[in-house]
């Protein structure tokens, strides 16, 4: 026997997608109207895919994880040679009107693989071998994504790694070692290979009025947009920051700023509430799932989604540096919508099959 789909989760996902379309309509005077139709098609296709993924048994996904993971790695290698370059990143397969970004799908493959690995283990703590395996499972796709290079997508693998260590039970002394290593790496990165513009982005977070027409320009314009929305907003398509094209990347990275400018605190809160429902339903599922692999997968999905939302909103509101991390389901982008829907489809599959005697 199996259960019905989690309709509250479905409703929240649909609401975010619908809000994303309204937002694209609002910014169309600045970015063109062609994006709206494409995003609508991706959204419909994504919801259908979500439904289809939920019909497949959860145990099938777990068994198929190694194969899916391997295919994702192959795609990441292939895109380095055959992919199209956009904005300096070689990360897209172009098939006629459709372009796909394998790095978005590789994240799903990695979460499936890591969850399957954690589910197979019976120990309560990670030995050094398991620690290395988990780290390698994440490091390989991240390295390939960094070769494109796509820093924004690579960053979203971070929470997967950390949460996988945590769930597996990393020993406290290893945590200390990892933390030390992270600090040293950050120090070396700062002094050696971080580019000046990247450092500037970090510095502008610390000092908000630093270089308002240079590195701090984007964040400053974003904060002006969000802040000027006030309680009720300026109306869809009426935001001056958006219409006058002050807002950079207002269909992707800074989509939330355009939304907050046009719909105000009320609209912004509503969108946050919809994301909250999605995360809450994932949390409910972790309480109900009976298998480690399911629980691990749902927790990884939760951590990744929450990380992207936090990093994106943090950037839009000036708390975190600009990194190119998009807002899931809300920022324009076919691959992102499709891969997120597929991921949530597997979550729905776990929901439906949660009491099945395996």
């Amino acid at each position: 026997m199996h259960h019905r789909i989690d309709s509250a989760l479905m409703l929240a996902i649909g609401s975010v997608l619908a809000a994303s379309l309204v937002n694209l309509y609002g910014v169309s005077s600045a970015v063109g109207s062609g994006l709206l139709l494409r995003q609508a098609i991706w959204g419909i296709f994504g919801m259908a895919l979500l439904w289809a993924c939920s019909l497949v048994r959860a145990t099938y996904w777990e068994r198929a994880a190694p194969k899916i993971y391997a295919i994702c790695l192959l795609a990441l290698v292939a895109v380095l040679f055959l992919g199209q370059v956009r904005g300096g990143t070689r990360g897209w397969f172009v098939l006629g009107p459709v372009s796909l970004q394998p790095s978005e799908f590789a994240r799903l493959g990695t979460m499936l693989m890591v969850a399957a690995f954690l589910g197979k283990r019976e120990e309560d703590h990670l030995d050094i071998m398991a620690f290395l395996i988990i780290s390698a499972l994440v490091a390989v796709p991240v390295t390939l994504v960094l070769l494109e290079p796509d820093l924004g997508v690579a960053l979203t693998f971070g929470p997967i790694l950390v949460v996988a260590w945590w769930l597996g039970g990393l020993k406290p002394r290893v945590w200390v070692a990892v933390a030390l290593l992270a600090v040293i790496t950050a120090g070396v990165a700062w002094t050696t290979f971080l580019k000046p513009y990247q450092k500037e982005r970090v510095l502008t977070v610390l000092d908000q009025d630093r270089d308002p027409y240079g590195a701090g320009y984007q964040v400053r314009q974003s904060r002006i947009a969000v802040g000027s929305g006030g309680l009720t907003g300026e109306g869809i398509g009426q935001g001056s920051q958006s219409v006058l094209r002050f807002l950079p990347a207002q269909q992707t990275d800074f989509a939330f700023a355009a939304w907050a400018e046009s719909t105000g605190f009320i609209g912004g809160s509503a969108l946050l509430f919809a994301f909250g429902v999605i995360l809450f339903r994932l949390g409910v599922l972790t309480e109900k799932s009976q298998r480690r692999s399911d629980l691990s997968f749902v927790t990884l999905v939760f951590a990744w989604l929450a990380f992207q939302i936090i990093v994106n909103l943090g950037m839009v509101m000036g708390w975190l540096p600009t990194t190119g991390v998009t807002l899931p389901l809300f920022s324009y982008g076919g691959s992102s919508v499709i891969s997120t829907c597929a991921t949530l489809g597997i979550v729905q599959s776990i929901w439906r099959h949660r009491f099945v005697n395996q």
């Binding site: 002006i224 006030g230 605190f265 943090g314």
Partner: protein, 596 residues
Amino acid sequence: MRIRTDPILFRRRSRVVLAIMLGALGLLHFKLAHLQIIQGEKWAQLAENNRLRRIPIPAPRGRIFDRQGGLLADNAPAWQLLVFPDEADDLDRTVDFLTDQGIIEGQALNQRFKARRIGTMAPLVVAENISWEHVARVRAHQSDFPELSIVSGYRRSYPLSAGTAHVVGYLRKMTESESEGLEDFQPDQMIGATGVEALGEDLLQGRYGKRRVIVSAVGRQLGMVEEDGPTPGQDLVVTIDTRIQKAAVEALGDNAGAVVVLDVHSGAVRALYSSPSFDPNIFSSSMSPEQWSEISGDPQHPLQNRCLQGTYPPASTIKPFLALAGLQEGLVDPQWSVYCRGSIKLYGHTFRCWRRGGHGTVNMKRGLEVSCDIYFYLLGQKLGIERMGSWLERFGLGRPTGLGPAQEASGLIGNPEWSRRVRGTPWYAGESVSVSIGQGPVLVTALQMARSFALLANGGHLVQPHLIPQSTPFEPEEVPLEQANLGVVVSGLERVVHGEQGTARGALRNLPIAGKTGTAQVARLPDEDSTAERPHHLQHHAWFVGWGPIEDPEFAVAVLVEHGGGGGSVAAPAAAAIFRAAFRSGRKAVSAGKGE
């Protein structure tokens, strides 16, 4: 034994993750509230004052210098009035304001707003070269019309004005189809329309820079987001010698006509003047419809470049080339002579010599000296139209020289095949007789003539006329000639100037030059007695083409005076003044100057 599916431990760990992240999200929600509700007013004020502009920075066009370094085309600073249509509350009000102030004509501007490319943030240039008074008026109303902005730009100026209008050329606005697909296109970009401005366009044109600035709600610049500096165009040194050019302007005076001066060895154009001329400065900024109709409707067609585009019968200036052709073909030798009685009957028609009394016995040198028509009727008969045509073509006549590809007329050398194809009538034998003295269906340009005479001066090299020097010399077309034959023709042409009966003797005998006069009939009148009584528009065109100095040839000069009358009496004196200026300016004067 542990139950493999025991999720309790993992669930406990998972809760920690959930709690931390939901907490972070809650904090962000507080931040949202802080920005929007508590600080909302402040940010709204900032948004109100926020205006982003993309301002094009004009690149100065390359200047044009003559070979001695004198300025032929310069850039004068000028105020431009820009409007940023995205920022206007009510464009109609803006247009009304500008019209009331007398700065623009509203009708034209409204059309341009409609035609502009949307979504570029780029401004429109609504007025160029506006006066100080207009600048002040716009500044006074700046806060009412923040979408208006006054910036400094450049306006092309030509110091010699009409004196070099045709050769240096002028500018025009790029058309919409030309700007299609150009990345750095600016809505009001000017490009070379004619002359050196058009020939050297790729070098002269700079690349616009752009600057993105934040401006306040009243149009004041607050800060710069990014700047991409302009790349100035490349300066050009052209082959023109201003001293000779000025002499040409004076020599033609009020007459319509054309002067071309070439370096006989390199083909460098030293002077090129078409009269009447015009002031090219008026094309540098927007021209009023009245100005345009005045200049384009002028019955004298000042915009036409008569040196390249005016085609005229060569008249007697064709004779040296037919003489040379006769010698090369072996049809005549220098001693072959005819007896001129003032007229001759050929193919049942009487053909006259220009001198009614006749020249008596005439050989080749004397035939050239006195320009005896009878001699050349008979020589032409020996050559036949096909051979005449093929030699004239080899000498560079009746075909473009390649100086100004888009603007040059080719001229015409008629023959039976052409007659059937173009006129649809058979070729008359009498026409061949006319062609042999440069009348009838044979038309050349002054530039072609100068080039062909340069060939006589330099020993058979058909040079490539050019205005912009290049590092490797232009390859001339070689015309293989017996130097002895060339010597006969050259000495005949020296006698035109220095011989006892030379047709150009009166005007030129004090100068070391050789050449040929020509008097081209415009129309045949029933009474041929006197040219003086003809109305002006039926008077003959006067030619003189020649080169000098004789010992060491340097310049070839072609002068054509439309309806001027006789070549010897009108064109030759003009040529004398030009030669004098050329010799003064001469090779030695510039040996230390710019290279070719």
